[in-house]
């Protein structure tokens, strides 16, 4: 359920995004100088550490507040590590670690990567596709120790970070940990593991994707109402209307399933089978919606839509890039399929109907 407070935090975020992170303005700029004042404003509002309780250095907002903020961030195609810092703060908070100021990211951010916490209390291993690692000050790392899962806070200056980018040109780096000594670390609570982090990341990306699709739908419908061809707005052609209706359908599906998954995480303590169904489904369906939605939007815009000058790519390329983070739809589909198959046909409907 959406409470009053979601409204306030999300509205505050929207104001900052509109003032300092407007995608159309940013799209005209040549460098990343806009990021500094933008991040400062977000930090002053307590948004990046929203999920960290006050006694650990954060703003102590609810999970629902944070997810609502991410939805708005998606609508603005925000290209600073806001989601990443939120998730990092959440990861540190789960183990009672204090969160530092400044942009953070999380490793690993792909299901197949593992970081090892050695006997000498150092971290070793490699994580690829770590979002914004090259712009972050610290990384919250989930590592496998001999005695179980460890969460550690690492300074990015202690890691080897390459210069890779994702489709949208945002940093998406390979990070090497060579016996890195963490700034601090703690054992993770039982039941909290690598899969839980991937699910949390997937739901965050799903919520962002749904937000981006909302903007894509609105931009595309406006354009279809304005652009004239064959002596009428192209939105008057049934062929175009049918495509826009499909785009609305994909947006609706993404909104509904990501909202449902975010609500599930916000209302539950741990990561159980229910969270798994909700979160994996959200990532799978939102990725499908992103793929389908981006292609419809570009079709409606025609040539102008894939110019650098036009703002559309800030949304479409970002949602296409997010497909790979925290497990692709193919990864989660195979996981979900195996899970359902293992439980068998008789348990399938009760599982779906329980949501």
């Amino acid at each position: 359920m959406t409470g009053e407070s979601d409204h306030i935090v999300a509205e505050l975020a929207a104001r900052i995004f509109a003032d300092l992170g407007d995608p159309k303005t940013i799209n005209r700029l040549d460098d990343g100088a806009w990021k500094t004042p933008f991040w400062r404003a977000l930090s002053d509002a307590g948004l990046p550490l929203a999920w960290v309780p006050e006694q650990l250095g954060g703003a102590g907002a609810s999970l629902a507040d944070g997810f609502a903020t991410l939805g708005v961030a998606g609508r603005f195609a925000v290209a600073v590590p806001l989601a990443e810092t939120l998730i990092a703060g959440w990861l540190l908070m789960r183990t009672g670690l204090e969160a530092p100021n400044g942009p953070m990211t999380i490793a690993p951010s792909r299901p197949s990567d593992r970081i090892i916490f050695g006997k000498d209390a150092t971290l070793s291993g490699r994580a690829i596709g770590v979002p914004f690692a090259s712009e972050a000050q610290n990384i919250a790392v989930l590592a496998q120790g001999e005695a179980g899962i460890v969460v550690a806070l690492v300074s990015t200056s202690d890691c080897v970070i390459d210069e890779s980018q994702n489709l949208a040109g945002d940093p998406s780096n390979a990070v090497r940990f060579e016996r890195v000594k963490p700034l601090r670390y703690a054992r993770a609570p039982s039941g909290f593991d690598h899969a839980a982090l991937m699910l949390m990341g997937s739901v965050s990306r799903s919520v962002q994707t749904a937000g981006a699709l909302e903007s894509v739908l609105s931009l595309t419908v406006s354009y279809a109402n304005e652009r004239v061809a064959f002596e009428r707005p192209i939105g008057k052609f049934q062929a175009v209307q049918q495509n826009l209706a499909r785009l609305a359908g994909e947006t609706a599906a993404a909104l509904a399933v990501s909202g449902s998954a975010a609500n599930t995480i916000a209302e539950s303590d741990g990561f159980d089978q229910t969270t798994f169904l909700e979160a994996a489904s959200a990532k799978i369906r939102c990725v499908e919606a992103a793929t389908e939605g981006a292609s419809i939007a570009h079709q409606v815009f025609g040539a102008i839509g894939f110019t650098k000058e036009h703002v559309l790519h800030r949304f479409t390329l970002r949602m296409l890039a997010w497909r790979e983070d925290f497990g692709s739809e193919s990864y989660w589909a195979a996981e979900l399929g195996r899970h359902v198959a293992q439980r068998g046909a008789e348990e399938f409907w009760p599982m779906v109907a329980a949501r």
């Binding site: 509904a256 799978i284 369906r285 989660w332 589909a333 979900l336 409907w349 949501r355």
Partner: protein, 386 residues
């Protein structure tokens, strides 16, 4: 322009869970008795009125209607749970479902008191079957092109013409139909149609069966020759039926029956791939599960928003558009995903029987109750494009 789509996070309240267990227990008992076979869609009597009466006795027809008309004043979410459990079990509900979903609510809103008092309690008891009379041989999706005429006579109207694709007409007790009472005007081509309640036993009605390519007999043509309908059987405003159609359609469009019609194939797919599927089957199954879960969350959300008095017309049309396409594509997805499984898997015969049946009924899923194209037109209008 309004591109704001809304899906409130609705979870079914706890009383729904008790109800769900009751529905499952009832269905299990009926299956054990041999009333129907959940694994064999299209077999047995889809019009099982005795079964409908037992459902009525449980209080599961007209669940949301006022008690004074035999209803139970329960919530739309409770009705939702019963509807989905019956669909998933493949239970034969055709005898009462149209009356429960559409006809009853129309009567509640537009019929005179004595007709409500007479008919609604009988619907709730599972005694009555209704048919919808909209399409005609010359007009289908273009509802307002209907020509079948109602001519004013003393104390009533005389109907002449025909309705087509009428499911249940051969067994139904009543039809709710659109007839032309005036010509359309230049300003409003939707003007001139009136909604009527027709007693199917009235003199001058002839029902001709139309067989479907699946072998089923569901459709009919209904021919009216000077059929007399009394004045008190007019439902709502004369010539103004077009004003009455919108909010009911949201209920009709977004229910679980709009994506669960081929659900049995999901279960048969899970049985076919076994407990350790290969990566191709696991991936394919997982996507279907995610899509189904999404549809259901959307549909429950629309039901909840309707319950709280909102009018999510565009959202409801989207649920039907996405839902019917999903259930229509399901047979071929299952066919593809089971293509490399061993020929001797235990449920092969059932799987093939189900695939054959689902494939032959699949085309109708995106036609009945508003075609894909009509739905997308409604969505486009909601977006501000027309």
């Amino acid at each position: 322009m309004n591109t704001n789509l809304q899906f409130d996070q609705i979870r079914l309240p706890p009383e729904c869970n008790t109800l769900r267990q009751e529905a499952r227990a009832f269905l299990a008992e009926e299956i054990a008795k041999g009333t129907f076979d959940p694994h064999r869609p299209g077999h047995g009597d889809a019009h099982d009125r005795a079964f409908s009466k037992r459902i009525g006795a449980k209080g599961w027809i007209g669940m949301t209607w006022p008690k004074k008309y035999g209803g139970h004043e329960r919530s739309f979410l409770e009705r939702y749970v019963v509807t989905e459990e019956f669909r998933v079990a493949n239970a034969p509900v055709r005898s009462h479902f149209v009356a429960d979903r559409q006809s009853g609510p129309i009567l509640l809103k537009y019929a005179p008191e004595h007709i409500k008092a007479n008919i609604l309690p009988r619907i709730c008891r599972g005694e009555l079957c209704f048919v919808i009379g909209m399409s005609e041989p010359g007009s289908g999706s273009d509802l307002f092109a209907a020509k079948t005429k109602a001519t004013k006579v003393d104390k009533g109207w005389l109907i002449n013409g025909s309705k087509i694709w009428t499911s249940n007409a051969d067994v139904a007790d009543y039809m709710i139909a659109l007839f032309r009472t005036s010509p359309p005007t230049n300003e409003n081509r939707r003007h001139g149609l009136t909604q009527f309640l027709v007693d199917m036993k009235a003199r001058g009605i002839k029902v001709n069966p139309i067989y479907q390519m699946s072998g089923e007999h569901d459709f009919n043509e209904v021919v009216f020759e000077d059929v007399f309908v009394p004045d008190d059987h007019v439902l709502g405003e004369i010539d103004g039926a077009w004003k009455q159609a919108t909010s009911e359609l949201a209920y009709e469009r977004s229910g679980p029956e709009r994506f669960l019609e081929t659900f049995y194939l999901m279960l048969e797919l899970i049985r076919s791939v076994g407990s350790e599927p290969d990566i191709r089957c696991a991936d394919g199954l997982g996507r279907l599960v995610a899509q189904l879960h999404t549809l259901r969350r959307m549909s429950v959300s629309v039901a909840g928003m309707l319950q709280s008095g909102k009018e999510p017309v565009v959202e409801a049309a989207i649920v039907k558009d996405l839902g019917t396409i999903w259930e229509q594509r399901l047979p071929n997805r299952v066919r593809e995903l089971t293509a490399f499984l061993a020929p001797e898997i235990a449920n092969r015969v059932t799987l093939e029987e189900q695939l054959a049946f689902a494939t032959t009924i699949a085309p109708k899923l995106t036609i009945q109750g508003g075609t894909t194209e009509i739905l997308r037109g409604i969505i486009a209008r909601g977006l501000g494009l027309r």
